[in-house]
């Protein structure tokens, strides 16, 4: 299994571990990742305006490169996934954006949204399968009570992201169970952490993150896992309760027995 891989800005810096744990785990699972050459930042938020293309071009370049290699494009950061998947949907379905982006980029062959965009979790679920993943676990996380924190970007708008049931998702819970831990279900797992708003309106983010953490704690979670560096930051910084929030790839690496090797790097 060979995929094109788009890491994104934060995974190169503040969230390097999110990336490292994933790469180590991917090796164990036989997932081959080829990093997109010269990838550029996705912009962090999907540009909603339907009348400009400049903010979408970096995603289109990455998508086209994967297409030329004949590979699916894998993402790990929730924000990158959200942006690239939606831009891809525009390239498939919005004629105006497709035409203008192609006119500007002048690829050998126009890009029409051919590339399949997958989140790493989707590979675990759909390509590897959680049953198979379970077999590969050498260090089951038995007894741990883990809450999945999805946030907003992976799930919405479900019409386009088509990742999971946006109001009652199960993919990360299944992932947790495959690793041998107990999945704690709490209703705030798909609520927003505040995102970029924490920069200028910290109190708003605090209120939201406290709701999330209190709910998870109330239902017995001992830690939260997430796929998004921004979620990780906000929920950790902006909540009163000290509930650890870590990347899902960390517990994956732990269960697969490669965590120490990464930490030692």
């Amino acid at each position: 299994m060979k995929y094109s891989y788009y890491p994104g800005c934060t995974l190169r810096t503040k969230a390097k571990k999110l990336d490292d744990y994933m790469r180590a785990s991917a090796r164990v699972l036989g997932i081959e990742l080829e990093e997109i050459e010269n990838w550029q930042c996705c912009g962090g938020v999907y540009p909603l305006s339907s009348d400009e293309i400049a903010t979408k071009l970096s995603s289109v370049r990455a998508l086209n490169e994967a297409k030329e290699k004949g590979q699916d494009l894998v993402t790990l950061c929730s924000a990158c996934h959200h942006v690239i998947k939606r831009v891809n949907d525009d390239m498939q379905n919005v004629e105006d954006i497709r035409t203008r982006a192609n006119n500007y980029l002048k690829f050998d062959e126009p890009y029409k949204g051919e590339t399949k965009v997958l989140h790493f979790l989707e590979i675990l679920r759909d390509e590897i399968g959680f049953d198979k993943l379970k077999e590969k676990v050498v260090n089951p996380l038995t007894g741990k009570k883990i809450g999945a924190y999805y946030g907003c970007l992976l799930l919405r708008p479900s019409e386009i992201l088509a990742f999971d049931n946006p109001e009652n998702p199960t993919i990360i819970e299944e992932f947790i169970r495959a690793l041998g831990a107990e999945a704690v279900i709490y209703p705030y797992r798909n609520e927003c952490c505040g995102g970029y708003i924490s920069l200028k309106a910290k109190d708003l983010s605090e209120n939201m993150c406290n709701n999330i953490v209190n709910s998870a704690d109330g239902f017995g979670a001992e830690m939260l896992i997430t796929a998004c560096p921004l979620c990780q930051y906000n929920v950790t910084k902006n909540s009163e309760k000290e509930l650890p929030v870590i990347y899902f790839t960390e517990i994956l690496a732990e269960a697969l027995g490669v965590k120490e090797e990464v930490d030692a790097q």
């Binding site: 909603l48 305006s49 609520e191």
Partner: protein, 130 residues
């Protein structure tokens, strides 16, 4: 009723790609919005400003800068109106005008800490500035 700027209202409709007339004023967006309390114009009211061609008031409101683009309103809107897209279109109109930036580079140092991920700054820049 409408003394406002027709062009700007049309522009909001075009940028957002939504039809505000589909709204039935159910309020599910406002019930879902995590930033509701910070908003001066509430999500269910966005459409009225566009219909009444009063984009100017919308452009001056605080709501533009506290919307999180979490898409809860977009996901749950039963009428396919997508209020989040309307507020984003109004925000676009503001930041595209000169001096419409909500965030200046000078403010940044005092706002950040060492754990802050790049993603946050990138997103904030895209949302708050041209």
């Amino acid at each position: 009723m409408s003394h406002g700027n027709k062009n700007q209202a049309a522009m909001v409709k075009e940028i957002s790609g939504t039809n505000p007339l589909k709204c039935m004023k159910c309020g599910k967006c406002s019930a879902s919005c995590p930033a509701f309390d910070k908003m001066d114009i509430k999500p269910h009211q966005f459409v009225s400003y566009v219909v009444n061609e009063d984009v100017e008031s919308l452009a001056k409101c605080e709501s533009l800068w506290v919307c999180l683009s979490c898409f809860a309103c977009v996901e749950r809107c039963p009428r396919d109106v997508k209020p989040g897209k309307i507020v984003d279109a109004a925000r676009q109109i503001v930041v595209r005008q000169k001096g419409g930036n909500y965030l200046s580079a000078n403010e940044i140092p005092e706002l950040i800490d060492e754990d802050l991920p790049q993603q946050l700054l990138v997103s904030a820049f895209r949302k708050f500035r041209r």
